[in-house]
């Protein structure tokens, strides 16, 4: 039973991080109809910002918010420089553009920083564990869950209570009519990228808090997982992204915990098998896609 509780904490922690990443992809997809494969590079960028902030002597608690804001800004700049010129182009063009941005950033990290992992010094608190009864749970896991919950609640308030939040939900359904409300298309799209940058950066900080190192490919695998999560949840649906992320985290952790040793090598295959089953049963994902995707 204790083992199960520990694994559940792990599942929520990993699933929460996947959920934040998947949300970042879904926010942009719901408005532009583009899967942003440079999302992983934004994660990595957060990691290097953390490394540099630590190098100049800033404590983690200060470095992390700086890295998050830096990543948000970078996401907005990426939109301006790379995605705005192809906004009216076909989906394939936008997809390839996002691949190009991802590869360019990755190469830049390799050339200008290092191909080897860089260490991010973590505060001692993050590497300790708390004992509840005879269960021992890592503080980083608990923080990770708490942060994910706070971010999800905050995002929910933002999307319901602010005009720009409402405009983003509206734009996901009907972009032209949103503009007929006098809402600036550029502002909605820039906000979508800022939001996705924020989500990628927070996920990156949580990711690094479990690993304490950054390498040029750091963001690739988690964002690939997040892509699987958004697809499983229902492309374009924010709720689906969260559910997909949590479900994928749970599948991965419980399989790793309970599969017999002989089956462990097939862990990844079984995970993807479950995803395939979900998509065969519900091709539109767990939550149906939003009714009309913006062009």
């Amino acid at each position: 039973m204790n083992y199960f509780i520990e694994q559940t904490v792990n599942a929520l922690s990993l699933g929460g991080t996947y959920a934040l990443l998947a949300l970042g992809l879904a926010v942009v997809f719901s408005i532009l109809g583009m899967i942003n494969f440079a999302h992983g590079a934004l994660m990595t960028l957060t990691g290097y910002a953390l490394v540099f902030a630590s190098l100049v002597g800033l404590p983690f608690g200060v470095a992390a918010p700086i890295a998050v804001v830096f990543t948000m800004g970078s996401a907005v700049v990426l939109e301006l420089v790379a995605f705005r010129p192809v906004r009216r182009a076909s989906g394939a063009t936008m997809l390839l553009t996002s691949f190009a941005v991802a590869v360019l950033l990755q190469l830049a990290f390799q050339i200008f920083i290092s191909t080897r992992p860089q260490i991010v010094p973590l505060p001692a608190l993050l590497t300790t564990a708390v004992d509840i009864g005879d269960i021992s749970i890592g503080v980083n896991r608990l923080i990770s869950i708490a942060v994910a919950v706070v971010v999800l609640l905050g995002l929910n308030v933002f999307l319901r209570r602010t005009t720009i939040g409402l405009a983003m939900r509206a734009a996901a359904e009907d972009f032209d009519v949103t503009r007929l409300m006098g809402i600036r298309a550029d502002r909605v799209i820039a906000t979508a990228f800022a939001l996705s940058g924020l989500l990628a950066a927070i996920a990156a900080v949580l990711w690094i808090a479990q690993r304490s190192s950054v390498d040029p490919l750091m963001g690739m695998i988690p964002v690939l997982k997040a892509f699987i999560a958004t697809t499983m949840g229902g492309l374009g649906s924010l709720l689906g992204a969260v559910l997909g992320g949590l479900l994928l985290g749970a599948i991965e952790i419980y399989l790793a915990a309970y599969l017999p040793d002989s089956a462990l090598p097939f862990h990844g295959a079984i995970t993807l098998g479950v995803v395939i089953v979900v998509l065969v049963v519900r091709p539109q994902g767990l939550v149906g896609p939003s009714r009309e995707l913006a062009r």
Binding site: T163, L166, A170, E173, D176, L180, M181, G182, A185, R291
Partner: protein, 242 residues
């Protein structure tokens, strides 16, 4: 000087010339109808005015050229359009739809006043304020679409086929509503296939055919020459009927 002046308007979709040189003007306080068969270029003309399609020629609103202006800029200058097929935001509540309608309004404090006015004009919306717009009936969605447009207090309201796809009784109530807006002094450019009903409330009308104006004049004159109008629209109207 008229509120809206259009001269030599052209719109093409690829190889197809949808609008081929339209001249049109609307004075403040007027209700002007644009009539014609399916595919005559009516909706395209409206979309051009609000900048949702690329166009050639000249459009002046309140003396300023709209050339190169984005839709949101045009809306902020004081005109908006109720699009064909209503297009409310289905997953947003009635309230949220109305809030967005007021987003372009310079005065933030106007929101509650305009919303109260909208609820007075459309009591059903007040009742359903927390309901998702997608769950409303077609007639209620049309009311919401018009109420949403009015939230920005437009000096010019463009209505694109407000009666399309609605039951006859509902159509009557929508036209009654447009008449009430007219009595309040709202300037309206109305695109309709329901020729008789549109001529009943309009001051003037233009008849479009094949992307050009084939007739124009005061509503009474066009109604009097209804036979001519019918002869002109007849074939196309029948072809467009389900």
């Amino acid at each position: 000087m008229p509120l809206l002046v259009i001269s030599g308007l052209t719109v093409r979709y690829g190889a197809i010339q949808a609008v081929r040189g339209i001249d049109l003007a609307i004075e403040a306080g007027e209700v002007v109808a644009v009539l014609g068969a399916n595919g005559a270029g009516k909706s395209t003309t409206l979309k051009a005015i609000v900048g949702l399609v690329a166009w050639g020629g000249e459009i002046h609103f309140d003396g300023a050229s709209l050339q190169g202006r984005a839709t949101e800029q045009i809306v902020r200058r004081g005109m908006t359009m109720v699009p064909e097929g209503r297009r409310v935001f289905p997953s947003l509540t009635v309230m949220e739809n109305l809030t967005l309608g007021a987003a372009a309004h310079a005065d933030g404090k106007a929101m509650p006043r305009n919303r109260a006015e909208a609820f007075e004009l459309f009591p059903i919306l007040a009742e359903r304020r927390e309901q998702r717009a997608g769950t409303l009936s077609g007639g209620q969605q049309q009311q919401l679409a018009i109420a949403r447009a009015l939230m920005s207090e437009p000096r010019l309201l463009l209505l694109d086929e407000p009666s399309l796809g609605l039951a006859p009784q509902i159509v009557d109530s929508i036209f009654e509503l447009i008449l009430r807006l007219k009595q309040r002094g709202q300037t309206i450019l109305l695109v309709e296939q329901n020729v008789a009903a549109a001529l009943d409330i309009a001051d003037r009308a233009y008849v479009l055919a094949n992307g050009m104006i084939s007739m124009s004049g005061p509503a009474e004159t066009l109604r009097a020459s209804e036979q001519v109008a019918r002869a002109y629209l007849g074939a196309a109207v029948e072809a467009a009927a389900p």
